[in-house]
């Protein structure tokens, strides 16, 4: 939890488990070194993870928010800090600051259909939303999860997706941009799944996370189907150093992605979204 008196001080967590997800992503399960009151967060929020002497990186929470004794982060080892977390491995200690930022509109979505569109590792911050929806399944209408990955080897949470696919109350569609021999699933960008997905556009809340280009085309496709701009939510990524709106790095027009985001209702940023170099 954030130390409100000094939000810059990290709390130590031990890496209790490391789960390899794909060839370049893994999930760490973290437990606090000292007993605390539990870690509560809302789906879509992120933590700053610190490696001793190396630095900090913002990483979305991807675990079930109902579980407060441990937290999970799915990490793609592409930077200094993320690679260092990978090297730490099981038993290693990291610093945690957070949770920070806004969350997916799970309350507003009640009574509506929900369409979740994820691209690549963008599925990670949406997983807590799915857990929460499944925990209160009766409160929502139809649920569609449309997930696009690079190749079949890049599909995150494979077993979970298979398990969820077995449920009769959720439509799960996975597609890959580039197939390999033996892949019998869909091929094509994730936007191609939208026209055929089952939801009532006028009563749908859409939650999108992925690279900006993917989100741009996803939004267009959802709007083509009649989903209202104010019912579309996206998760933005910007450089973040402090997580609390002081360092200025994550500015996106008039917003600070760390505190006004990362989840934005699309109509609040649509005039600047997609503009070059804002």
């Amino acid at each position: 939890m954030v130390d409100t008196a000094n939000p810059f001080i990290p709390t130590q967590y031990r890496i209790q488990k490391v789960l390899g997800e794909t060839y370049d992503t893994f999930t760490v399960e973290l437990v606090p070194l000292q007993d605390n009151d539990g870690f509560s967060f809302l789906p879509g929020q992120f933590n700053m993870l610190y490696v001793f002497g190396v630095g900090e990186a913002p990483i979305s929470l991807c675990s079930d928010p109902a579980i407060e004794t441990s937290i999970k982060h799915t990490i793609r080892a592409v930077g200094t800090v993320t690679s260092a977390i990978q090297r730490l491995g099981r038993g290693g200690v990291v610093g945690v600051r957070g949770p920070f930022g806004t969350h997916w509109p799970l309350d507003d979505a009640k009574g509506n259909d929900v369409v979740i569109v994820a691209g690549g590792i963008g599925l990670a911050p949406l997983r807590p939303a799915l857990y929460q929806i499944f925990a209160h399944r009766e409160k929502y209408g139809r649920i569609a999860l449309l997930f696009g990955a690079r190749t079949p080897h890049d599909i995150l949470y494979k077993h979970e997706l298979e398990r969820w696919r077995g449920r009769f109350d959720v439509e799960i569609k996975v597609t890959v941009d580039s197939a390999i021999n033996g892949w019998r699933g869909n091929v094509g960008v994730v936007t191609t799944l939208i026209p055929g997905a089952q939801f009532d556009p006028l009563n749908t809340i859409a939650m999108i996370c992925g690279p900006e280009v993917m989100m741009r085309f996803t939004i267009k496709e959802l709007q083509n189907r009649g989903v209202k701009t104010e019912n579309i939510y996206i998760s933005m990524e910007r450089n973040m150093k402090c997580g609390v709106g002081f360092c200025g790095h994550c500015q996106f027009g008039p917003t600070f992605v760390c505190k006004d985001g990362p989840i934005f209702r699309f109509d609040r940023i649509n005039t600047i979204f997609g503009k070059r170099e804002i």
């Binding site: 610190y50 450089n239 609390v244 709106g245 002081f246 360092c247 600047i272």
Partner: protein
Amino acid sequence: MGKNNKNTTEKVILKHDHFQTLIDLLKEREYRIVGPTLGEGAIVYDDLNTVDDLPIGWTDDQDGGVYRLKKRNDRAFFGYTVGPHSWKKFLFPSQLRLWKARRDENGFHIENDKNEIRKFAFIGVRSCDLHAISVQDTVFMHGIYSEPNYKARREHTFILAVNCGMAGGTCFCASMSTGPEATSGFDLALTEILQEKGEHYFVVETGTELGAEILLNVPHREAKKEEIHAAETIIKNTSQSMGRTMETKDIKDLLYRNYEHPRWDDVAKRCLTCANCTMVCPTCFCTTVEDVTDLTGEHAERWRKWDSCFTMDFSFIHGGSIRASAKSRYRQWMTHKLATWIDQFGTSGCVGCGRCITWCPVAIDITEETREIRKSEQTHSPNNSIKEGNNNENA
């Protein structure tokens, strides 16, 4: 700063030779006295021991990309405007250790790192800078979180303001409604008066109980009507001799409408992205952090340093920089200062101090850039249809 009190607004006269008494009293109360002094070929803010550390008899000559110290023909204490420093260097140090940690059998632990922070007395704060301090107060203390390092420095600061007796060549506080008269945010405010007969005194206004308390022990007398009038005249003259003006009407929407204006390409050709403007700006607050370890690898520290939106690294996310072009970085800075700041914090991020104009090596002028964008809207409507010729001049 102490509490504001309406009953303490009676103006009094402080003779120039009693100014040292004021400093001594603040010292007795264990303030660290900082204020204008000569250094680095300019008037900078640093520790003051005695009144003689002030740049007495000096002034400055400022214009776009130009700053020169000059001798005055009198012994004015505050006969100059603002230099390259601002008070943020004290309240928001350019380098600050956020914490230190040590490796241990459990991984690592954060070590207790309580630094005693001496309370500051700021001597000679101009109205633009009072507004700048107030702007940073909002940034650091009025959000969901309060920035503890800033708060610790800010809370006990004593502020002695000075109403400007002259306007600099790059000043435009009058058009930003941030000066030249100090109207709030001070404990005491002075207007310096030098008469031809050699009389040298200050008309003093009290802003807080603390100010009144300090003043109580400095020899002073009640101000006469004509003395108050003389002070008002000085401020009025300063207000009318601003080197620059900024038209602020509709400025937020003006810039929001013109994200794609060709003027940004034009300014990008001149801008060196040196970040000077952000360093001298009294409201710019961006920082980066550096994590360091010692040779043993047993100790780690996290340092926070001033950063600038003009660097490539600033907007870097995995894959590349969001703002790779000079154009986008200048646009980010100026649009933040004059437009998005208003949405973020309810005020402009610009206080009209003119530092960014003076200290820009190529004399880019924020008032001129704004004016050009505004002008193009007036001459070419609808809004941003600018003739293509602009872009080809230097081709």
